[in-house]
């Protein structure tokens, strides 16, 4: 069985580098993108098993909008998404925090930075299993 393919989209190169290195150690094939446009190309071309997405990049809610766009795309709507953000939702003007709004935010799991590597690994495994079952 091939390594699960994970795409990470974040404008922070350090995060990409560190998370990529950690996940590779956990046995994942990691692809990274610094913005959503490159990320979309990567997703469309590489067909990853999971997406790790930052929220605030070029705009404050670029990640959220991108996730919504993916959910609206029939081909990509099943892609599991973990949103990883440094900011609680309230800072961005949302009336509720992101983890309380996962029902409308187009993501499966929200994790606030700093992320514990084991917890990330655990969540990735959880979503991959869930997706495989589905």
């Amino acid at each position: 069985m091939s390594e699960p393919k994970i795409v990470i989209i974040d404008d922070d190169p350090s995060f990409l580098e560190i998370t990529g290195a950690i996940l590779k150690r956990f046995g994942y094939l990691v692809l990274t993108a610094a913005n959503t446009e490159t990320g979309l190309d990567l997703i469309e071309t590489e067909q990853p098993d999971l997406l790790i997405l930052d929220i605030m990049m070029a705009s404050v809610d670029e990640g959220l909008n991108f996730a919504v766009k993916l959910r609206q795309n029939e081909a990509l709507r099943r892609l599991p998404i973990i949103i990883v953000s440094a900011q609680p939702g309230t800072e961005k003007g949302y009336t509720r925090s992101i983890d309380q709004d996962l029902d409308w935010i187009a993501a499966d799991i929200f994790m606030e930075k700093p992320v514990d590597p084991q917890a990330l690994h655990h969540n990735i495994q959880l979503l991959l299993k869930k997706n495989a079952c589905a």
Partner: protein, 689 residues
Amino acid sequence: MPWLERLSFQTKITFITLVMILLVVVVAWGGIHFSILPAMEQKIQDDARHLAGSLATTLNSSGVADPRRPSVPTLELIQRLMPNLAYVEIADSGGTQVHWFGDQRFQTRRQLRVLADQQDGMLALNRVEGGTVYEVSVPLAGRAGGPDQLLRVGLTTDYITHLRWQLFYVLSVVTLFVLVSGFVCTRWFSVLITRPVDQLLHLTQLLAEGKLEESLKECDQFPAFQSHKLDSFFSGARTGDCNCPLLSGDPAEARGTEEFFPYLECRTCNIRQCTGKDELMRLLLAFRFMAVKIRCYREQLHQRYQFEERLLEACPDGIIANNRKGCIILYNSGAEQLLGYSRAEALTGLPVQRLYPGDEAREIKRALLSEDYGGRGILVDYNTRAMAREGKVIPIRLSATILYDQGDEFAIAGYFHDLTELEEHMSALSQANARLNAANRELGRLNRYYLDMLSFVTHELKSPIANGYMSANALRQEIFGTLAPEQAVMVEATCRNLDQSMEMIRHYLDLSRIEKDEFLVKPQPTRLLGEVIEPVLTALSSTIADRGARIEVEVASDFEWLLDPELFRGVITNLVSNAVKYGERNGIIRISARSLGESCRLEVWNSGAGLAAADLGQLFKKFQRLPSSRKSTMRGTGLGLFITKTVVERHGGRIWVESEEGAWVNFLMELPKDAGTGATSADQGRDGA
């Protein structure tokens, strides 16, 4: 009789007295003339009748040889017995004198006036020169056929005439004496009465002329008021050791004795009884008391006037009153300073309208008569303008009132408060306020800048620190291979520092949100154990384990309360972290929650060093780090408890701490049932916007 009323009292009394004396004399003379003298004449008439009758009887029955001639010795005897016997005459029926005895003056030139003609004889009055005679004619019976004869007996009234003149002389002398002595006595008595009255009149005139002191001085000089006389007057009459202040006439002593009215009611000297019935003395005393009282009242009035005058002068505001004609009648020095007119100028015909520019005086009168400024006839704090002598217009605050006398307006009094300084102050204040507003805006801008910077910096710091945290944790978790013991120590220290840095960043972000009023609270029914406490304990498990702390949770699994679970996770994290950090190693941390009915009580208790009583009140302040925490190896922002307190208060609750130094610390929170009611104000405000 008006002419009598116009006379002086003395003359009146003298006149009346003399008239009365004369009347007495006239009455006495009348009594003598009409009563005594006629009685005496009647006696003479009776004596004449009696004598004539006796003689006739004697002559008729005697055996005298010549009955027509009574014996001379008999008649002489009779004349000696009756000195007023004027004559005895016997005449025949033809009227020829037969016998005559007596005074020859009556023998001729008779002027008889018959008074009574009776059976026993005829009484007639015989007036002759040199005297008057009552004559009684009695018929004698004729003897032996001889002719009838007539006996005439005459008694003179000489002694009555003499008595009359004697009485007249005596009465005249007595009358003269009585008149003279009456005049003298009356004059003396009237002078006795009128002198004090005159003095009183004089004193009253002095009083009326306002010469009160002179009046009292003269009053003191009354003989009756000489001290020794006064003492003697009252000696024996005073019932006690009285020193009636009003008797001394000293207003200083008399002051304060308004309720003490010695003339009427002095309970000590009982002066009313002392004065007895001597009306003059009582009148003088009454006058004296009245004068003393007047002097007291005048003193009081004077003092009152001086006080009011000083009050008026001391008042820094202008006080002006004008009469109905608009003439100024009251003008104090405050008004002088304010308006520049001297008092003499103001009080000598300066119309009050001149004190206001334009039609301001009319406007003020209109306002005064309206109900708008404190009621009709009253003006309270009416801002207007006055005009000074040199034409300068001064802003003033005017309070005025209409003064009435028996319902008629007679004056208007006003209080002028100069607003020039106030307006200058207001202007300065307004400028200062503008500067303050500008500074405030600048401060607000700087504060926003600071908050933005705080937010930006902490956020920007968060990402690299989070990356460091992630990589260090990856190393610690030996994802990249087993670490040598020294590497493990280093990585652990790095992780610990990054933990603290992350905590600091979270606190600063929370502070930023609180300061920007973006700290939103979203209460919801929350299971305290499952949604708040257990996640926190899980997150802190490694730290708790490192310190060897024993956690005791006394919260029912189904205990639910209305609160924001995310924020309370922060609260419990902070309190448990503190308990772990500052509590004793291997100590006990107890978390409990229970309902109190309308509120719930949350407690985080830990054993340990505890807190000094003086530190308890400082704990929840921003950037507050207590000496005990500074001694700790743990670093903190000094914001954790401030944020905790803010969260609890935004839930409408309260938090406090109890401690026994050297033993334990307990943080207690009470949250009301309707925790969410006031908690989302910021949120509602935003929604509304």
